[in-house]
């Protein structure tokens, strides 16, 4: 039974009606008076040096105000990764560079009175290139004869390993145990390589920013960002402009999924306003989002495991090669997470080695994307376990249950592998993965379908399973703060730096405040993500908001509660220890009387020893408790054409106490369909010159309502003692399972192993031909 009043209830999302009626404001809905239109000009070459830019013809066009490029914009090395400071990403980019490192790298920006003029004038820019031999194959990036994309003037502010002579944007190596001993003890070795491919976030709102000076001459940036405080800091850095003069506002955001952590447009628009003292608008097109924003890093994951005939793994070696594209945004941390969010799940393995390398290529740039390396790692690991258990005739679900991490246990990986530095040791407080697996097995009817190859004509069915974990915030790095004050009617303003990008965090954090104060949700007035008006928060990434910001909110609300009790004690002449709160009132259990929150606030504001009941709280976390998940797929493969249809998909998640079960389900459903879509149809197709050929929804196919399989989602509640009211994270994890679960199901149906997605008819058919011949 739910012991809480608001937590655990599917309260209506606080901004939902405003959004459903079209009242909400997104970045491009703010009207700009006398605003300037910005249009970026991009490199048509994958690798080239700009010898000269002649902007005279552009500037001669009536209505063109400015052309920004490397010759007239200050060259300040920074990273656009949008992380905390100092960033675990290399400082390897400039606002405008004279070296073009991928098709879509920015050459210049035309600033004009309107759209039409800007687009027309942009075509007149005269750029002289020295075209260089590009590097596309990540496997060749470290070769001595390969072109070098960056030089030693680029480096990490945190001093992490960076070897531009080998195009190494990052390298991480950890290990424990004795690999040689593991090799010796093994009865056999499984050595397989899995390729996770490029993917686009496809937030329906494209990246958007508007900038203006306010009436006091301060620079206001309205941005579709996941990280308003990092935007402020990075704009100050990259534009060499005083941080105190910048205010960043995050309005409603049309989805992010990691893409809007990247701070790559804000400095540009800011520069226009700074240079011309006029508002500026920079909203990129869908094609620009595909080619020039950020992507999921492709990772080639090689797994080598030594196995005993009883199934025990004697050693595990993971070798991950991440294609970072032209810049090193998140190159180190996504790489690390490919190990750190994946390997601890099977913590009984005593001998382990992880080698991760991120390399530059002249291809689109990777960045943060829901799942953040774990998605790529689990594609390999879950298939690897399927291969292992099939070899030994073991039941996969039973095998996973026997070997996965349990409550009270730890993994050496937690301590060894962090985000650009050592990790943080942690012991698992909550894990209901067994229950999640059981639900998946029951719902997909595993035992009557597995290995049965149920066949109808040319079509064969199969089932597959995948498990995963994620984290909840980055321990000892991420910080969140909250501020609250009380009003005369017993309502509370809740000001939070936390960034709701559509996830529902304004609602979830309000529920946490309401629960701590014993008031209905309607009594909490959330206001988030304005660098002038809310306290700091790292922002919406690393599955951190519910857990980390939620803890800050709870701490803050409890401080408010203390003040309420003290005022009530004075008002009622009570002893503090006799008082308790319930339903917006303070009760004295001895005197059997009570006083309302409204009266308490009025007393504090107007009557005696007046003061504002208010509090702030900051939190960092010492652990990153993982949510756990099992996902199962049933597919039907047409053996004539290779066409795969996902018939049913089951997800069961342990996210601790779901603060709002409906929103938690929504996160899982959204992540799952995103994962299915990535597995089935999404793919970057390049020309031999490195030009992305399918930069639009017509040719880069994402799931529509008509494409989704029968879906069932289960929230298995556990209690994470370190989380606010027992909560862990839920937003990312659901994207990890679909690709391996479907791959395993395809194997179950037709005995063909899919080492690479998307599972299009062509790919599956080709794999059928190749693997049947062998």
């Amino acid at each position: 039974m739910n012991k809480y009043t608001t937590v655990g209830k599917s309260e209506k999302k606080v901004d939902a009606l405003s959004l459903a009626t079209g009242s909400s404001m997104f970045v491009d809905d703010f009207a700009l008076k006398d605003g300037l239109y910005c249009k970026l000009v991009y490199s048509p070459h994958a690798y080239a040096e700009i010898l000269d830019i002649d902007d005279s013809k552009v500037l001669a066009v009536d209505g063109v105000v400015d052309v920004l490029h490397y010759k007239n914009v200050k060259q300040i090395l920074h990273t656009s990764a949008g992380q905390g400071f100092p960033e675990p990403s290399p400082y390897d980019c400039l606002i405008f560079d004279h070296i073009m490192r991928f098709v879509g790298d920015r050459v210049a920006m035309v600033v004009a009175e309107n759209r039409k003029i800007a687009h027309k004038a942009a075509k007149l820019l005269d750029v002289k290139y020295n075209i260089l031999e590009p590097l596309f194959d990540p496997e060749k990036a470290m070769d001595l004869e390969s072109p070098k994309l960056h030089d030693s003037s680029h480096a990490y502010p945190i001093g992490a390993k960076y070897v531009p002579e080998k195009n190494l944007a990052a390298e991480v190596e950890i290990g424990f145990g004795d690999m040689k001993k593991g090799e010796k003890e093994a009865d056999f070795v499984i050595d397989e390589t899995y390729n996770a491919h490029y993917g686009q976030h496809c937030a329906i709102e494209p990246h958007s920013v508007k900038t203006m000076y306010d009436e006091m001459g301060r620079l206001v940036i309205i941005s579709s960002t996941q990280v308003p405080f990092h935007v402020r800091r990075i704009v100050a850095q990259a534009c060499d402009y005083p941080l105190a003069k910048i205010r960043v506002i995050k309005p409603r955001i049309g989805g992010g999924f990691g893409s809007k952590q990247e701070v790559f447009l804000e400095p540009l628009a800011a520069l226009v306003t700074i240079r011309h003292k006029r508002p500026a608008r920079l909203v990129i097109s869908r094609a620009e989002v595909f080619q020039c924003s950020r992507t999921r890093h492709p990772i080639r994951v090689r797994l080598r495991t030594g196995v005993k005939n009883n199934g025990e793994i004697t050693f595990l070696e993971m070798d991950s090669l991440l294609n970072s594209g032209a810049y090193g945004s998140h190159a180190l941390t996504v790489l690390s997470n490919c190990g750190s969010k994946v390997l601890p799940l099977f913590n009984k393995i005593e001998n382990m080695h992880f080698l991760g390398r991120s390399v530059y290529t002249n291809l689109p740039v990777g960045g943060a994307y829901r799942g953040y390396g774990a998605t790529q790692g689990y594609f390999g690991l879950n298939q690897h376990l399927d291969i292992l258990t099939r070899k030994l005739n073991l039941d996969l679900p039973a095998y996973i249950k026997k070997y996965h991490i349990q409550v009270g246990e730890t993994s050496g990986v937690f301590e060894a592998l962090g985000e650009g530095k050592d990790g943080v040791p942690q012991i698992i407080n909550s894990c209901k993965l067994d229950e999640c697996i059981d639900i998946c097995i029951r719902e997909i009817d595993w035992h009557s379908k597995r290995d049965k190859k149920i066949t109808k004509g040319d079509k064969v069915r199969g089932v597959g399973l995948a498990v995963s974990m994620q984290g909840s915030a980055i321990p000892l790095i991420d910080m969140a703060a909250a501020y609250m004050k009380m009003n005369e009617d017993g309502s509370f303003n809740l000001n939070i730096g936390a960034t709701d990008i559509g996830t529902g965090s304004d609602t979830v954090l309000s529920q946490i405040a309401a629960e701590a104060l014993s008031v209905p949700l309607a009594k909490i007035i959330p206001f988030s993500s304005d660098t002038d008006r809310t306290p700091f928060d790292v922002g919406a990434y690393a599955s951190s908001t519910t857990y980390l910001s939620g803890r800050a909110v709870k701490k803050c609300a409890l401080k408010i509660k203390d003040q309420i009790l003290k005022v009530a004690a004075e008002m009622m002449g009570s002893d503090l220890e006799d008082l308790y709160v319930e339903a917006s009132e303070v009760f004295d259990k001895k005197q059997k009387k009570s006083t309302s929150y409204g009266d308490i606030c009025c007393y504090a504001l107007y009557t005696h020893k007046q003061f504002q009941i208010q509090a702030e709280a900051s939190e960092i976390v010492e652990q990153s408790p993982p949510p756990f998940m099992a996902q199962a797929a049933e597919v039907e493969v047409d053996t004539k054409t290779g066409a795969v249809k996902v018939l049913e998909f089951i997800s069961a998640v342990d996210c601790g106490q779901a603060i709002n079960p409906q929103l938690a389900e929504g996160q899982v459903e959204g992540a799952t369909v995103n994962g299915i879509s990535y597995a089935m149809t999404e793919e970057y197709v390049f020309s031999d010159k490195g030009n992305l050929l399918n930069k639009g929804f017509r040719s880069y196919k994402i799931s529509t309502a008509a494409d989704i399989p029968k879906m069932k989602t289960f929230v298995v509640e556990s209690h994470e003692s370190s989380g606010p009211f027992g909560a862990k994270s839920v937003s990312e994890i659901g994207i990890n399972g679909p690709m391996p679960a479907i791959a395993n199901a395809i194997y179950d149906a037709i005995g063909v192993r899919m080492y690479e997605a998307p599972f299009t008819p062509e790919k599956v058919y080709r794999a059928m031909q190749v693997q049947k011949i062998e």
Binding site: S10, K12, K13, D15, A16, L17, S18, L19, A20, T21, G22, S23, S24, M25, F26, D28, D29, K116, H201, C202, A203, I204, E205, P206, R252, I253, G254, G255, F257, S285, R286, I501, G502, T503, G504, Q662, L663, E665, G666, E669, G670, A671, T672, V673, N674, G696, F697, R698, I702, S703, T704, A705, A706, I708, M711, T713
Partner: protein, 155 residues
């Protein structure tokens, strides 16, 4: 060029250029509830109803709309203070996450329910096929349309 557009039951005089799309004209004239997601007729964020039929306003030339045509945006079926049953059903079902696709999807649902008051799940999915949503996985959107259908039946 100039035309009187009939938007949400009110006539409004707008200026536009010959090659201008309806999406741009509407947004320039304050109808920012009509969203721009792809400008290639694929995402449905800009969907409006033209004489009751869903159209992607990013593909339609303003010049092709006449004074007699009736345009409906999501604000035309209900607002914050008097929401439409469909808008409430979206809220109650948890079908709104980031909400950027929501105005288009609500209108697609409205058009569907005008034609078919008791759509099956498959019919809902088919009617939504022109609207992309990356947040919800569509599950709760489909539930919302069916909840709205049920509530409208009772009315």
């Amino acid at each position: 060029m100039e035309v009187i557009l009939n938007v949400n039951g009110k006539p409004i005089k707008v200026e536009f250029t010959p090659e201008e799309h309806l999406l741009y004209t509407l947004r320039q004239n304050g109808f920012t509830e009509v969203k721009s997601g792809c400008k290639e007729g694929e995402c449905g964020a800009c969907l409006v109803l033209l004489n009751g039929k869903p159209v992607n306003s990013c593909l339609m030339f303003t010049a092709s709309v006449t004074e007699e045509d009736k345009l409906l945006t999501v604000k035309g079926i209900g607002d914050l203070h008097e929401p439409h049953v469909i808008q409430e059903a979206f809220v109650d079902s948890g079908a709104v996450q980031c909400g950027f696709c929501t105005p288009g999807i609500v209108l697609a649902s409205y058009a569907l329910l005008q034609e078919n008051s008791t759509p099956t799940e498959e019919e809902v999915k088919k009617a939504m096929d022109g609207n992309l949503c990356r947040c919800t996985g569509y599950v709760k959107i489909i539930e919302a349309v069916q909840l709205a259908a049920k509530r409208l039946q009772k009315k």
